[in-house]
Amino acid sequence: MDLGTGVLAVVVVVGVPAITVLYALATEWVLRFLPERGRPRLRPWLWLLPAFAFLGIFLVYPTVYTVVLSLMDRRSEEFVGYENYVDLFGQQLFWQTIANSVMWLVFYTTITVAFGLIVAVLTDRVRYETGVKALIFIPMAISFVAAGVIWNFMYDFNPEVGTVNAAVGALGGEPQAWLFEWPRNTFMLIIVGIWMWVGFAMVILSAGLKGISTELLEAARMDGANEFQVFFRIIVPLLAPTIAVVGTTIVIVALKTFDIVWVMTGGQFDTDVIGTLFYEERFTNRDAGAASAVAVILLLTIIPVMLFNIRRFRAQEETR
């Protein structure tokens, strides 16, 4: 092992974690120089400082930059006001994209969260929990390109090769071109998304589930509650904050969908979503203005989700 690699390995494995721990310890040391009353006021900001620094540089600045570009022409040379937005709203492709993104939002989000919850709750009750969870988790660990290769074969038109069409044929049906006809193709892409992301919902919800005390569940069962009552009256309400976290995250993943569509259809056959539209405008058409307008619209779509979250935090604070 050469010296550079060795030094890097030490930095990576020891140095970086040590620095983060030292930072936390240093906060109390810094606060000691303050009068007693001032400490609780400054303390939260010291704990928030590293996160805000990262967020400011890597997300807030790019967002401001994007908003500015959305008001300029394709080469970001002249200010054009809201022209990019007007152009966008006038395109049929844009509304097609919105329709697809809404489909993703509705079907992908609900099915992924519901499935994740069901699997987390069910696996929690069997001895082979880790095995099932691993099987459901594996798709998340497969790279997009490899997932694209295999799903293209799953949906292949030729029933000799395409798994789905072979199954359809075995049941006496005609082979279908799954990816060429809208809206069926968007559903087919959503299935790929669900396959990949249920593992995510499952793992997080499962972690939340472990925080619910067993005594509570058993007490309910002893009182004669059946399993459905236990699920809907106890597990779901207690897990609600975690479900909200997973749900919010999946909503955003749905809105940001890019890789699955890009790898599988390249946005052709009317499968474009907001993510691929941005990419085409930015990197194929090289229109920074139009692309940034698409990104800004994406940012605006999550306002309702955030309002929901604010209400939820208020409620949570009152109860604790």
């Binding site: 690699t5 060795g6 494995v13 038109f157 030729n158 390249g266 946005g267 056959f269 090289r286 229109d287």
Partner: protein
């Protein structure tokens, strides 16, 4: 936490990695190279291009004599998603010194943004004209400024066939347009399938169909109409372009003429589009694709595909006009460094071009590269088609603005999926044309 075990693991892995690293590249005595004086350039150069795997090796072999003569350290990066990476790097203020350009349309964008360096005072254009057809200079020029040079060329619109299958069925290679269409009809009336077509190519699906349309436009309506078309001066709904689509659809969208029917055409990867030539009995007898298709045949059928024996090609005959379509890999300069200047000067020389030609898979635009340099008869004949053609045109879809080119891909897919919808497909293209040009 098992941190110790983890550390030990890292150490083992590092040793493994060190053992796996290639030994310092051996450099044989360099032949030629452009070194004018005794002073080697030194320094380094960063290169970004689309070539990966075998093509990457060929490119590195091509520049090796220059590297040896000048002692420059090369940082080469190959990526198939060139357009995204290059755009991001350039706009992010971190461009490579020299880079492959995704296509002439993208080259024009970079040039108009002021990202590309004028090669007019880097390369001696007059000297270059001695070896290159004027067309290559023109295709690398944007608004009167030379910004791109060709590393290699691919000849498009070749018709591939299996000589053994032809012999078994008693078919002859056609020499003119009527003979060509007669052959297609003959195959069909014999109860066989004439064509194998595959349009799938990931995010760029549809492009093989654009080559068909271009070949039809050039042969049916001639080079002038062809030029007006890609320049945006001729509407897509014009009779000339419509005729080309209809000629393509008559074969590729008709289950009697194409293997597996239209749905198969849409879902088969283009690299497997000609696989049916090798089936027994033949799944198809003809396949339309560029010169690089031979590479796919040989990888897909390692023992079966033999040039001249089980696969061969003929040039697509002229209809009302004759002509050849081609595409090529362009290179441009994003940073004005002595190393970049020197490399660009080197890349256009016959010495440099010959290296890739000899390794196979490339046709050179440099007329000084002798036909003898081509490694086999097939590639020699392909090069000959190019040099002997009176009318040569660059891939129209690649020369259009990127937005137009992409809409063209999509139109091919829409049309094959639903041929009755041609009016709609063409008027949609007209709408994009109205917007995409003039930016």
């Amino acid at each position: 936490m098992p941190r110790n075990r983890f550390l030990a693991g890292i150490a083992v892995l590092s040793l493994l990695a060190a053992a796996c690293q290639p030994s310092a590249s051996q450099s044989p005595a360099a032949p030629g190279g452009p070194s004018e004086g005794a002073e080697p350039l030194g320094g380094s150069i960063s290169i970004l291009a689309t070539w990966t795997d075998a093509e990457q090796e060929s490119f590195l072999a091509m520049i090796q004599p220059w590297v040896d003569a000048n002692g420059v350290e090369v940082e080469y990066e190959g990526n198939r998603d060139l357009s995204t990476i290059l755009t991001t790097r350039v706009e992010g203020g971190d461009p490579p010194d020299v880079a492959g350009l995704p296509n002439p349309g993208a080259m024009a964008e970079f040039a108009r943004n002021g990202d590309l360096i004028d090669l007019g005072d880097v390369i001696d254009v007059d000297a270059m004209l001695a070896d290159y057809n004027e067309g290559y200079i023109a295709d690398g020029t944007v608004d009167g400024t030379l910004v791109g040079i060709f590393i290699k060329i691919a000849v498009k619109g070749l018709i591939w066939y299996n000589p053994q299958a032809f012999a078994d069925a008693g078919y002859e290679v056609p020499t003119d347009w009527d003979g060509f269409t007669d052959l297609v009809e003959q195959i069909r009336s014999d109860g066989a399938t004439p064509w194998g077509v595959g349009l799938e190519s990931g995010a760029d699906s549809g492009w093989p169909g654009t080559d068909w349309i271009e070949d039809f436009v050039l042969r049916q309506s001639g080079p002038d109409i062809y030029d007006q078309w890609w320049q945006g001066e001729l509407a897509w709904s014009s009779p000339e372009i419509r005729a080309a689509f209809e000629a393509f659809g008559a074969w590729a969208a008709d289950a009697d003429y194409v293997a597996g029917g239209p749905n198969n055409v849409l879902s088969v990867f283009f690299g497997n589009g000609g696989d049916c030539l090798f089936a027994d009995p033949a799944g198809c007898y003809l396949h339309h694709q560029a010169s690089f298709m031979s590479g796919f045949f040989e990888t897909n059928f390692p023992d079966v595909a033999v040039a001249g024996d089980t696969y061969d090609f003929f040039g697509m005959p002229g209809e009302s006009y004759t002509g050849v379509t081609q595409s090529g890999d362009l290179f441009g300069m994003f940073r004005d460094t002595p190393q970049a200047r020197s490399l660009m000067q080197y890349l256009v020389t016959a010495d440099a071009q010959q290296i890739w030609v000899e390794r196979g898979g490339a046709i050179s635009g440099n007329g000084a590269v002798a036909l003898d340099a081509y490694p086999d008869d097939t590639s020699r004949r392909i090069a000959d088609i190019l040099t002997s053609a009176e009318v040569v045109r660059f891939d129209a879809g690649d020369k259009m603005p990127a937005q137009m080119g992409r809409a063209f891909f999509g139109a091919i897919l829409d049309y094959i999926q639903n041929p009755a919808n041609l009016d709609q497909v063409l008027s949609d293209l007209d709408a994009v044309q109205a917007e995409a040009y003039g930016n």
